[in-house]
Symmetry: C2
Subunit: 346 residues, 2 copies
Amino acid sequence: MTKVTVLGAGAMGSAICNPLVKAGWDVHLWGTWLDDHLIDAIDAGEPHPRTNAIISSEVTTYRSDDLEQALEGANVVILAVASVGVPKVTEMALGGMSKADAVWLTSKGFNPDPDGKIELLPAALRRIAKNNGYTLPPIVAVAGPVKANECATGEPTATIFGCSDLSVAQKYAREATTSRYRIEASDDEVGVEICAPMKNVYAISLGIADGLEEATGFPHHNLKAATFAQAVKEMSVLGQALGAKPETAFGLAGVGDLEVTGLSGRNKVYGVRLGRGEAPAEALAEMERLEQTVEGVPAAGYAKDLVSQLGVTEEQVPLFFAVSRILDGGIDDVKEEVAEAVLPRH
Amino acid sequence: MTKVTVLGAGAMGSAICNPLVKAGWDVHLWGTWLDDHLIDAIDAGEPHPRTNAIISSEVTTYRSDDLEQALEGANVVILAVASVGVPKVTEMALGGMSKADAVWLTSKGFNPDPDGKIELLPAALRRIAKNNGYTLPPIVAVAGPVKANECATGEPTATIFGCSDLSVAQKYAREATTSRYRIEASDDEVGVEICAPMKNVYAISLGIADGLEEATGFPHHNLKAATFAQAVKEMSVLGQALGAKPETAFGLAGVGDLEVTGLSGRNKVYGVRLGRGEAPAEALAEMERLEQTVEGVPAAGYAKDLVSQLGVTEEQVPLFFAVSRILDGGIDDVKEEVAEAVLPRH
């Protein structure tokens, strides 16, 4: 029986436990020092506070002090903490990770290395391991259009596993699949990984079209659709600049995940506020007051540095540059800014 | 000054007049024998009955009896009638079309030839011309995520012109563009053309996920996103079977148009009914009673024949086969049917 240890008991970490139990795996879930109340709920058989889903009683839970015990003999370690926690938790878990057959990564985002260079998370993991004298097994980037609550409650869910060793992605795609949690295997770790934070950035731009409709009473469907198509194209361009395959953005990781993120969720809601005419900083402060995290905002900041590092130009990713300028404030007419970025040019 | 004659005064035919006037063209609009009330409204400066948009007073209008006069000296003829009217209006207009520099086609759909073989509309036009001893100039397939009302009222709109002679597409993309109506030029006439009717079929499948949410109270976002990604993939596969480029479906013609059609519009609404558990025939009858045409239903029927002609298999386009079966009735569990079609398999 495959033993899997999930690090992080938040929405996605807890959710992925359920299909893995169904697939017949021996599932262990470790909560960070911030997760005690989440582990409490799971242990009590109560709905998870973030997803409202019941997590299988067959999952063995661990508190933050019991990391070593949680990792003991794990064949697979899944890193599922918030992206800001990735470096610290990785350092803490290197012993267990290095002994596993694979590390899966549901955490998503960018990470600035100590020199301020922006890395994707798999690169961060490998760097941290190397600096500490460890070698990691293959990393599997887990992404796609997966709302955690639906994954946990067993609604039909398609995900993509990206690993540079395709046979590893395929092995787990076979072994972890259930009738409702189904996995596409890909050899494009980078392509899968770049789409996840970028779709949060682009979701803001999709919200803007909805906000314009709210503000004016007139739909902006054509603008929104052109924005969607441009966002997909730019995720492909950014992926290619990092060595990814062009087509990964056209599948579950890009098109699929943008559909679900861009049409609901907090990044889109933030965009709606901008489209309605709210100032970026005030709108963000208001959402923070409501405890609504807008992941696309910090992601856009990191992405700006990454784009600069890669030498990607505004001509290649005009929508990204437009969103960046809008988030920085100082753009009065967001409609024109987005329209100029997404409409075809000659 | 380029003289353009638009054939068909419905939503799209009338709408495209406005940007063309803005681009400085000499615009003539001919209404079919069914369009008298539409021409009346335009002549009176009243909102167009289908789009609620005012059509520019600089457009010269013609009634059905004045076709010859309307076509006199036209540099470009735009065929914009409903797809069922395409063969007849084409026959009537061959004289003018053959003398023009180009025929644009905003009409979309499939056409059964006299032997029952399914053609895309450009092929139908060429066949009809040939049978009548005419040769047509280059055909420009006009598509993409364009809601007619927004096009007419000057909201930001991106469209794609596909012509096998790229220089022709580029020429018109330059000459017809305005600040708000912007045109991507493509050499993939077939790729642009196949997406338009197929997105209506796939929009039904996207509505099903929404209907499941209405029926159960639980969102099916993951299923919907996986359906969206699979639909895009299948439009690319079908395009390739017809000789189109794989990537056309990943741009404005596929991803973009599916976004706008799949998230609103009547095909989606029909899908919602199916997802709620209504029987296909009854749901369709009810929508017909409400005068809501569901274009995806006849398109699916023609597409079934086309898929068979091309030898495209269920393994290649499982979602299309699933939608076909659902439309034919006899599928009790539409959720399982769609899920099995769109979730990854091994």
